[in-house]
């Protein structure tokens, strides 16, 4: 493989290319079939990545090293990541339903695809496709300079048009993904008024703190009603040694009996 890449298709070792070709043939066709057969969209994306990596190797074998790397960077890197991002937004567990909404659609699709396959196979079989041209510098060291020369001379107008297309696509994607606000954003005053109206001024108690006390230096209650000194951070008491200690030792905290705890829970729930 590395030899194929290094010489850019100028290798004369046909056994190597043939071996790689058949291995990749099996992998890519199998992955493509699995892609249309698995039900989860994420698995489809992974199978598509396998096919695209195989295609990149095919490009490298045919003396197109630049396209091979562009295939990996643009397709396997960017496009598939975009697919996965949208999958995450839409729901990772989205599965296809296997219910046929149009009667006989699968059968018709299968017949049509067999027809397409036969048609294309006949076209290729009947066309007089000659052997590959002998590898030149275009397939090796001159690949990138030759491509850039073509793009910026013969194909400079299509190149500019694709630039415009990319900008239009980016703007279009932003317009389509933009969400208009249907209600005005609440101001800080409205937020404060809403907070006072609920009667819950302070933030929610931190985990482990009994629900009636919001302070972080109050120990949590254990199931038997006693307090747990472990639930208070040890950083709370030595932080300000000059002031009165904010940490209340567990012995001095009110020992809440089970009934009181139950009442407190009821009060918290109301």
């Amino acid at each position: 493989m590395s030899g194929v890449l290094a010489v850019g298709g100028t290798n004369t070792d046909f056994v190597t290319e043939e071996t790689i070709y058949w291995i990749l043939f099996v992998i890519s066709v199998g992955a493509a079939l699995a892609m249309i057969l698995v039900r989860r969209a994420v698995h489809c994306a992974i199978m598509l990545a396998v096919v695209m990596l195989c295609l990149a190797t095919f490009y490298a074998m045919q003396g197109a090293p630049f396209l091979a790397f562009v295939q990996i960077i643009v397709y396997t890197g960017a496009v598939l990541m975009l697919f996965l991002f949208v999958l995450m937004l839409i729901g990772i567990s989205s599965e296809d339903s296997i219910v046929e909404t149009i009667k006989g659609q699968r059968l018709a699709a299968g017949l049509a695809s067999i027809g397409l396959l036969v048609l294309l196979a006949l076209v290729i079989g009947h066309a007089a496709i000659g052997p590959a041209a002998p590898p030149s510098a275009d397939n090796g060291t001159n690949n990138l300079p030759g491509l850039s020369q073509l793009i910026f001379t013969t194909y400079v107008f299509p190149f500019e048009v694709t630039g415009a297309l990319l900008i239009t696509a980016a703007v279009g994607a932003m317009v389509l993904a933009h969400r208009e606000r249907t209600s005005p954003r609440p101001t800080q005053r409205e937020l404060a008024a809403r907070r006072v109206a609920t009667g819950h001024l302070a933030p929610d108690p931190s985990p482990g703190v009994y629900a009636l006390h919001d302070a972080a230096d109050r120990p949590a209650l254990l199931p038997d009603g006693s307090t747990s000194p472990l639930s208070v951070s040890s950083a709370l008491s030595p932080r300000a040694p000059d002031e009165t200690p904010r940490f209340v030792p567990p012995e001095e905290t009110l020992q809440i009996t089970a009934e009181e705890a139950g009442r407190e829970i009821e009060g918290a729930e109301q």
């Binding site: 066709v29 493509a32 095919f58 562009v70 697919f83 339903s97 695809s113 190149f159 994607a173 389509l176």
Partner: protein
């Protein structure tokens, strides 16, 4: 290896992609199948470029990649807009214009 070998796998991948477009319901998977078809075409372009011994086919494949990237961006944005409005990515659920 003659270009026919590469054309053969290009045809196979193209047909598999077409089947996927026809039978799958999830719009994202349909997009992936379209990408597979475009990639198969690219492989045919590269095979013919090798057969003719010049780089024109590779340039065309390069342009196909650029256009495919732009198409994916816009298509996925449309998909997200539809999903936001209808809470579904299935192509069967987007039937407002049917009747």
């Amino acid at each position: 290896m003659s270009p026919v070998h590469y054309l053969a796998i290009s045809v196979i991948l193209f047909v598999i992609g077409a089947v996927g477009v026809l039978v799958r319901r999830n719009a994202i998977v349909i997009f992936m199948c379209i990408e597979l078809m475009l990639n198969a075409c690219n492989l045919a372009f590269v095979a013919f470029a090798r057969q003719h011994g010049n780089l024109n086919g590779q340039v065309i494949a390069f342009f196909v990649m650029v256009v495919a990237a732009a198409e994916v961006v816009v298509g996925l944005a449309i998909l997200m807009a539809i999903y936001r409005a209808r809470r579904s990515a299935s192509v069967d659920d987007a039937n407002l214009l049917k009747y």
